[in-house]
């Protein structure tokens, strides 16, 4: 992962061993600057996740806000959790939630016009993707219509690659709830596709 220049060994202990996230956060209790190493580890994937949901500009703000909020709360981090990703994605999901209307507006625009405001500019579509454009519009309409909590679960799993357990930890909900939300979301997605061959380019199911 590329990262801005930083003090070497900021995320290592005295013996040069890489610290896990929990140890880094604990270190930041006494050396606040150490928190920057956590940023260097996790900011890029969280930015991409936010960028897929809201576009790059808002993602800049989401990432900055997420880490500022995490920094302010570092004293309450549960040090038994070695991997901070669920914690950070949970905060990010909440920050993204403040832009829910923008997210839904852009998904609807995509569904309606076929042009996705989020990917305009870096759309290098290969042929099969162009062919699947109609499918993607239906998917966008389905995502826009999901309850926010269901969309959070679906996208943390599909886009952030969190496990069920990590998603549960991120959102502060039981794993069973993750399962039921995911099932519901996937059912809506399948319904939006009308049970048709998802690679066929001729379907236009108006939502």
């Amino acid at each position: 992962m590329t990262a801005p220049p930083r003090r070497r060994a900021a995320d290592q202990d005295a013996a040069g061993t890489r610290l896990d996230d929990a140890a880094l956060i604990e270190r930041s209790w006494h050396e606040p600057e150490a928190f920057a190493a956590l940023y260097d580890r996790h900011a890029a994937p969280i930015h991409r996740f936010a960028g897929r949901r809201l576009g790059g500009q808002l993602a800049d703000d989401v990432v900055a806000e997420t880490f500022l909020a995490a920094f302010g709360r570092r004293n309450r981090y549960d040090l038994r959790r070695a991997d901070a990703r669920p914690w950070l994605y949970g905060i990010a999901a909440n920050v993204i939630g403040k832009h829910r209307r923008a997210e839904v507006r852009m998904l609807r625009a995509w569904a309606r016009t076929g042009a996705d405001p989020v990917t305009e500019g870096h759309a290098d579509l290969v042929d099969s993707q162009v062919a699947a454009a109609a499918v993607q519009r239906d998917l966008a309409a389905a995502l826009a219509a999901l309850p926010a909590g269901d969309r959070d679960v679906l996208l943390l799993i599909a886009w952030a690659d969190l496990s069920y357990e990590e998603t549960a930890a991120a959102l502060g909900i039981p794993v069973g709830t993750v399962r039921s939300r995911l099932n519901r979301a996937r059912r809506k997605v399948r319904e939006a596709l009308g049970g048709q061959d998802p690679t066929s380019s001729n379907q236009e199911l108006d939502p």
């Binding site: 897929r52 920094f71 996705d116």
Partner: protein
């Protein structure tokens, strides 16, 4: 992407897959903001987070486990006890409510509220007689709603006009902290003084700027129940969701322990953020929605961080409050009692928080250019606040 056996989840994974990983340059600004917050440990985060008047919050760094009561879901928006006030009755009710509130009624805490459940604070918040107080708070907020709604519609600043704001925070036992900055109404440019030099920089989006806050209020539904439903959507349904949400909020350090407290914090935050301009009708609707939150109380005899008298409205038994002007019913500040002495280690030395914290937008004005402080606020209040600051500094 042509696999016929691709399932629905795989299809979702292909959506916007072309969005690239951000460049280091793109991430640098967020990293700088983080480092700026990290390298100013002796200031509260609310001041450390310069630039940007948003997202001030109390006691950001106070550590320690939070204890939740089992979340209480109120049995609906409580419209049953909302009062229908005939217009002619307003003046009479105003007199009664203000007399009662200004008479110095102590803010009651609800039975089993934080005051009782958190260690080290038992006994400092007397137990309430909830029903009567709830009714008083509802009357007060209904009156506030009617008063602000009757105002002439204020003109909204132009998108490219600059808003000057001076923010003041007082805290028992520490020097008053003050911070000023400029932000364009559309939020796309900000400015502040650093070491005597005016620094101006562009924002990537206007998100969180005055215009954004103005629109957020303007877009709220008019119906109090619909406002509370929208608030409930944002704050979530579990204690952790409430905490996650409220950690970015200026309103209270104490995490919400019920959906009602979370909704109140959400609405109070909207009002606090709309310091530059708020549509009067929306303000009225928010007050009316607050009146429908069970457990909301009012307390008179409070002062803002710059010494203005105000009436506190609270959803957590008076632990934290939104301060309203007793005549205009506009928001003039926020306050919170630290429930117990808590300390945080900063560079090896403990900093202790206790007592009361108050925050206010001391001066807010539309100015022609960043760096200008054309303040048209009450001169007496400013002199008072300056003296108060000098006293604080002298300690």
């Amino acid at each position: 992407m042509n696999d016929l056996d691709m399932n629905d989840l795989d299809l979702v994974r292909t959506m916007r897959a072309e969005v690239p990983s951000p460049s280091p340059a793109r991430l640098a600004r967020g990293r700088d903001r983080l480092l700026a917050a990290a390298s100013r440990p002796r200031r509260h985060r609310l001041l450390a987070a310069v630039p940007g008047p948003r997202r001030h919050r109390l006691l950001a760094a106070v550590p320690g486990p939070r204890r939740y009561r089992r979340p209480i879901r109120p049995a609906g928006p409580g419209a049953a006890w909302r009062l229908a006030l005939p217009a002619g009755a307003i003046v009479a009710v105003a007199a009664i409510v203000c007399a009662a509130v200004l008479g110095g009624t102590a803010a009651p805490s609800r039975p089993g509220s934080a005051a009782a459940s958190r260690p080290g604070s038992a006994g400092s918040h007397p137990r309430p007689a909830p029903t009567a107080r709830v009714s008083l708070a509802a009357r007060f907020l209904t009156l506030a709603a009617r008063t602000v709604a009757a105002e002439p519609v204020s003109t909204r600043p132009g998108d490219r006009q600059w808003v000057y704001a001076r923010f003041v925070q007082t805290q028992t036992g520490t020097a008053t902290q003050s911070d000023e900055n400029w932000i364009r109404f559309d939020g796309l440019e900000q400015a502040y003084y650093l070491n005597g030099q005016l620094i101006t920089h562009l924002e990537t989006s206007g998100s969180g700027g005055p215009l954004d806050s103005y629109r957020e209020l303007a877009d709220l539904p008019a119906d109090p129940a619909a406002i509370l439903a929208a608030a409930g959507q944002v704050v979530g349904t579990t204690p952790q969701q409430w905490e996650n949400w409220s950690s970015g909020s200026a309103v209270a350090e104490l995490a919400p322990r019920s959906i009602g407290e979370a909704e109140f914090d959400y609405l109070a935050q909207l009002l606090w953020d709309a310091y530059a301009a708020a549509p009067p009708a929306a303000l009225a609707h928010v007050y009316q929605a607050m009146a429908d939150i069970p457990g909301v109380t009012v307390t008179g005899g409070l002062t803002s961080a710059v010494g203005r008298a105000g009436i506190g409205v609270s959803a957590n038994g008076g632990v934290s409050w939104l301060l309203l002007d007793p005549q205009t019913y506009q928001v003039i500040g926020l306050g919170e009692k630290a429930l117990s002495r808590a300390s945080v280690m900063v560079k090896g030395s403990p900093i202790t928080f206790s007592g009361t914290i108050s925050m206010a937008w001391a001066d807010v004005a539309i100015v022609a250019a960043p760096g200008q402080r054309l303040v048209q606020r009450l001169a007496a209040v400013q002199v008072h606040s300056q003296r108060r600051e000098q006293r604080q500094h002298a300690r």
